[in-house]
């Protein structure tokens, strides 16, 4: 039987699938569901210093090839989120704490708290495309990506994974900046900036007009980003964007990802999507003679 165990720097995972940030990551019980569904680890909802309600509804709409959302980073604030992280950690679940802030100091403070709650790693949301002054707005600047990463690295001992935005000309440049800030790995991609209009209503559907595009429609862009980043940095990459099947996951892995995150596919397949993707990966590996996941990491980069 092919072994699916994965490593992302210091992080050892039973398989390469991780629940993506902002999907079912509001409570410990939801995150435990994802782990029961087969995820090797979970990322929390992105958490800030203070509670925020996010944007008013409609915050999400289904389109032909995926979803658009403008949740706007709702969260209970880091202090209230303590029991949720602890609730997963105490069941031996691997939690990656996603955090957002408006400056390096804020990121560092949040990361420290996540570490103290028992998070195994911290993910820096430098990429949310629909929160004014946060996420992608700062995450598009090389200096800020480097400085924020560096500040968080100084603050915590657990691995630090900046999550990058594809809404730039050169995501690999951002990855390089993160590596220079001593990131332990890169998470790519967050959603694409997008819009849907309901013709009868003569108006964009999302309350924020713009939203982040996720799901199958963004996979070719995500795979390209991971391939580009893998050509630029030496640290491991966690691929995310439109993964629904084992083949999708393998595309990311062959492009250079050491593990993957799954978000939108939870809608169609439920929390069991992780086990499904792993089973499909296992079948592919057996049929194609791969013994270890690591034999596939970056495999598509050798050819050309």
């Amino acid at each position: 039987m092919a072994s699916l165990s994965a490593t992302v720097g210091k992080l050892r995972l039973a398989n390469p699938t991780i629940l993506a940030a902002g999907i079912l990551g509001m409570t410990a019980e939801q995150m435990l569901e994802a782990l029961k569904g087969g995820a090797a680890a979970v990322v929390t909802k992105s958490i800030g210093l203070k509670a925020a309600e996010g944007h008013p509804n409609p915050t999400m709409v289904e389109t032909e090839c995926g979803y658009l959302n403008c949740m706007g980073l709702p969260n209970p604030g880091i202090d209230d989120f303590k029991p949720e992280v602890e609730g997963v950690a105490k069941h031996d679940g691997i939690v990656i704490g996603s955090v957002y802030a408006k400056d390096a100091k804020g990121f560092a403070a949040l990361a420290r708290k996540m570490e103290s709650y028992g998070a195994s790693a911290v993910e820096l949301n430098l990429s949310c495309p629909h929160a004014a002054g946060l996420g992608a707005e700062m995450g598009s600047s090389l200096t800020r990506v480097r400085n924020i990463t560096r500040a968080v690295k100084k603050a915590v001992d657990i691995p630090v994974f900046p999550k990058l935005t594809p809404n730039v000309q050169k995501i690999a440049g951002l990855a390089l900046a993160a590596e220079k800030g001593r990131a332990d790995g890169i998470v790519a991609i967050n959603t694409l900036k997008a819009m849907a209009i309901l013709p009868e209503a003569r108006t964009p559907i999302l309350s924020n007009a713009y939203g982040g595009y996720s799901g199958p429609g963004i996979k070719p862009v995500g795979v390209r980003c991971v391939y580009e980043i893998a050509g630029e940095v030496d640290i491991p990459i966690i691929g995310v964007g439109g993964i629904c099947s084992g083949r999708d996951a393998i595309e990311y892995i062959m492009a250079g990802a050491s593990a993957v995150q799954i978000g939108s596919a939870v809608a169609a397949h439920g929390p069991g999507v992780f086990a499904k993707v792993c089973a499909e990966m296992g079948e592919f590996m057996t049929a194609n003679g791969y013994k270890r996941l690591s034999d596939m990491v970056g495999a598509a980069r050798g050819g050309r």
Binding site: G22, M26, T27, A52, N57, M60, N75
Partner: protein
Amino acid sequence: MKAARVTDVLQESEHVWTVRFDLEGSALPGQFAMLWVPGGEEMPMGLSYIDWGSKGATFKVVGDGTMALSKLKPGACLGTKGPLGRGYAIKGADIIAIAGGTGIASLAPAIELAVSGGKRVTVVLGAKSAGEMLFEKRLKRLSVNLQLATDDGSLGKKGFATDIAQRLVEKGGYDQMLACGPEPMLARAARMAEEFGIESQCSVERHMKCGLGLCGACALGGARVCVEGPVFVGKALLSMPDFGKRRLAPSGKVISF
């Protein structure tokens, strides 16, 4: 999101309205839809009418979103997502349905389905007072055992719907209990059903954002109310520590009922 056209807007009582719209397709009693008056806030609403060519929602005006819904005119465009979630799965021959306030909105189609399926149905319809009694006429047209209850005794029996129901359930004979209303009422109903060995199905509300099972806003235990609910088996609800006690505010903060 689908654009439906509003066909009727009816005032049911001082604060309660029904909006009918021409959304096509099948729906199960107990399912809900996300409704959006363009420019305003989108919100979840149980379906009070589920005909193939026409759906309806019956709601209390409690804020801007429901106010905008009540002000719609026939011909207006209504953004819809759905039908969503799981509805009531009616079982057995003898059913007792307990509704509190607007809870009857999504229960009514279930009651109609049960009656047309040849079930014996008892309905305990509760309201604060006579003026707030909902769907009385709609239910009187059906061959159901209709028991009205008001908190102030201004119509039907005086007392909570669950109290009236308890007296009936004690006499025995029911195979299933359906319930929709405020969560503390549902908790009482589910415990009652448990005590008397009756299967119960309760429709639960949580603050919803995406309605698609992704954002996690509607968490109830490990379940997503928008996908695994809104109708849950009472036994499952009783095993969830937060049922009837805690829920998530729009920020995700855990708050008490």
